[in-house]
């Protein structure tokens, strides 16, 4: 008993005051990319060549375009671009409401909107999520799990991961959706009472990521179930995931 109390004193109060205060991230953290709009060398494909997931291409306006839904945030393009057009910022907030909002071709970004008013009435203060891993490598899963620890304390926002889809308001899906998990994902989705929302977390769930076009996987959940929120990253930082959830609920 005394040991438990002593440990409690040692461990202190560690819940971080997010979103009031910005989280402290590693100085080497790779956040949202930004692209300068002029100076792209004609016929240069250096960035596209080094991208492992085919996330980057050259737009018709002659500048790099990154699909954040496929980006692994490996920074290879940043190093390869001879004109230095691509840079990765420290901005951890990058959720999107629409798939096309993840296409980055400038320094601006369309951050996710809150759910429509009638949804927010239902979910704005209490959002129960069922997590389904459909080929996730356990990194996205781990960074969702960590949100339930005291450092993040997901519960204080009324968000909770629940044990059954029947108890849930929404699905949070990770992984590219392997052929072998497609049916289970669909069944989980169908088991959710309506109205329901879907959050695609990580490059795999959004686009298939590094597994895109493998015969063994689907290219993310987009063609299988409707998506309300995209959270890019490989894996997304836990703050990025939490930020996305709170924006969806209209609390940031």
């Amino acid at each position: 008993m005394f040991n438990i109390l002593r440990a409690r004193l040692h461990q202190q109060y560690r819940t971080y005051p997010f979103p009031e205060k910005a989280p402290v991230l590693s100085p080497r953290y790779t956040g949202r990319p930004q692209i300068k709009t002029s100076g792209c060398v004609a016929d240069c494909t250096a960035c596209a060549k080094v991208c492992p997931s085919g996330a980057i291409s050259r737009s018709s306006e002659g500048r790099p375009v990154i699909d954040l839904g496929r980006c692994l945030f490996c920074r290879a393009c940043e190093a390869a671009c001879p004109s230095g057009l691509i840079s990765f910022s420290k901005e951890f907030s990058m959720p999107a409401s629409r798939r096309e909002d993840l296409i980055v071709n400038s320094e601006s970004f369309n951050t996710a909107r809150a759910l429509p008013e009638e949804f927010r009435k239902l979910f704005g203060r209490s959002l129960k999520l069922r997590q389904v891993s459909a080929g996730g490598c356990n990194a996205c899963e781990a960074d969702c799990n960590v949100l339930t620890t005291p450092a993040f304390d997901l519960g204080r926002f009324g968000i909770q991961f629940v044990a059954s889809p029947r108890h849930a308001d929404g699905l949070l899906v990770t992984g590219p959706v392997t052929q072998n998990m497609k049916l289970a994902l669909l069944k989980s989705y169908d088991a959710l009472p309506s109205p329901k929302i879907v959050i695609a977390t990580g490059a795999c769930a959004i686009s298939g990521g590094i597994f895109r076009d493998n015969a063994e996987v689907n290219n993310g959940i987009g063609d299988i179930i409707p998506v309300d929120l995209y959270i890019p990253g490989c894996p997304p930082n836990p703050w990025t995931i939490l930020d996305g959830m709170l924006r969806l609920m209209g609390r940031i």
């Binding site: 052929q179 989980s188 930082n237």
Partner: protein, 496 residues
Amino acid sequence: MKKHVKSKNAAVVKFADIQIVDNQQFRKDLAALIADNCRLSALFLLPRSGQNLILAAVSDDSDATIQLFATPCQKEFASLTPDVPQAHWFEREINELHGIEMPGHPWLKPIRFVPKDNGKSEVLPGVTNYFEVSGEEIHEVAVGPVHAGVIEPGHFRFQCHGEKVLHLEIELGYQHRGIERALLRSQPHQNLRLIEVAAGDSTIAHTTAHAMLLESLHCLKTDKNAELVRGVALELERMANHTGDLGALAGDVGFLPTASYCGRIRGDILNTTAVICGNRFGRGLIRPGGVSYTVDKALVATLLERLALIEADLKSAIGLIWSTPSVVARFEETGNVSKEDALAIGLVGPAGRASGLPVDIRCSHPFGAYKQHKPELPVGRNGDVFWRARIRWLELKESVRLIRAMLAEIDNAVVAPAYSSPAAADSIAVALTEGWRGEVCHVAVTDKSGGLAAYKVIDPSFHNWYGLALALRNQEISDFPLCNKSFNLSYCGHDL
């Protein structure tokens, strides 16, 4: 017994040097080696110059070698499993991937339910015959693929008598993403990313093995500083996961203080990895030839500072487990795996050590920084949840010591240069590393132009899932979550 080629960890062997013996001799030699305390690290089918070969990589912990030998394989291949139980899962894999009949195998069925080549056709994993126990009061419990927690999918089928589990059968494959096939058609920079996510919580262990293979095949020299950084990252990975597991074990027996603290401390350890490379899981840190990030004295000081705080928090949080009798009582004598069983099925990593097997690649086949920095090897007694927890704690303390020792030697790690040297042609190399779950084995085979002809990834979970099934024998079904967490195996690492 024939004399077979002995390779060192990640050393290149000319394929022509591998003895191809007849099936009888292969069986005899493999059985003799396993009886002599060697371990089957890899067994797979390899199409080579017009015939199919079955190739074995057998690790000998006594002299840090890996023996390689092969035998031709027709449409039918008499199963090795009755003589060498360690082969059972490998043979099921060969049967599933190549359609080889294996008469004599006690339980020949798919392990991954790999979709057919056209890919998009509907497959139904887990729809198969299960081992059944019959009787008036026997009932069957099916769990998964979707589980109650935030966890990967898999299917568990229990045969129960009342609360007692007579048999557990585990069906996986839901996570199969086709990594080994993709490795053969992708570019090297893509392969590194594929390996990083083979098992996303063991990124460092897998990428280190992959980098070691490429370094020997391409004759790249690694800098001592880079090897130390890899060692530090691998120990941080071990610490993060062991901490998470100990917290989850405490949570599963309803002891919330440790569960809460460990969840957070685990995050602190992941964030320490992020101090090195920006990513909490070590993505992008390791590359062939060394590392992708610089580590100088200033960064070393930061890491040491963080480590001291983490160490104090860990002692306070995890010490509670051992001083709380109600927790220890729940751990003890739950989910036992005997040493004999562990040896027979080839358990690796902390699970194997908990059952009394002194297996650790860092000690037996040292690689990189571990050639200088050897860990103490804690070994448990009766392979129960208590020892699987206890071993993790002992290893955690050892990891802290190793990290300090390695950091002290780092002068200035720099980014490894790009390489363009060709790979050795017609060769094979086997790399072993010790991830937090145990032995990670990568095998690369090159063709006559140095291109990849085959690449095998064997995650420790491949060996250990059957250990979980054995741990459940004669346990109460309510102990399943606790037993499962005490192994905490990778679904995607198994399914790849």
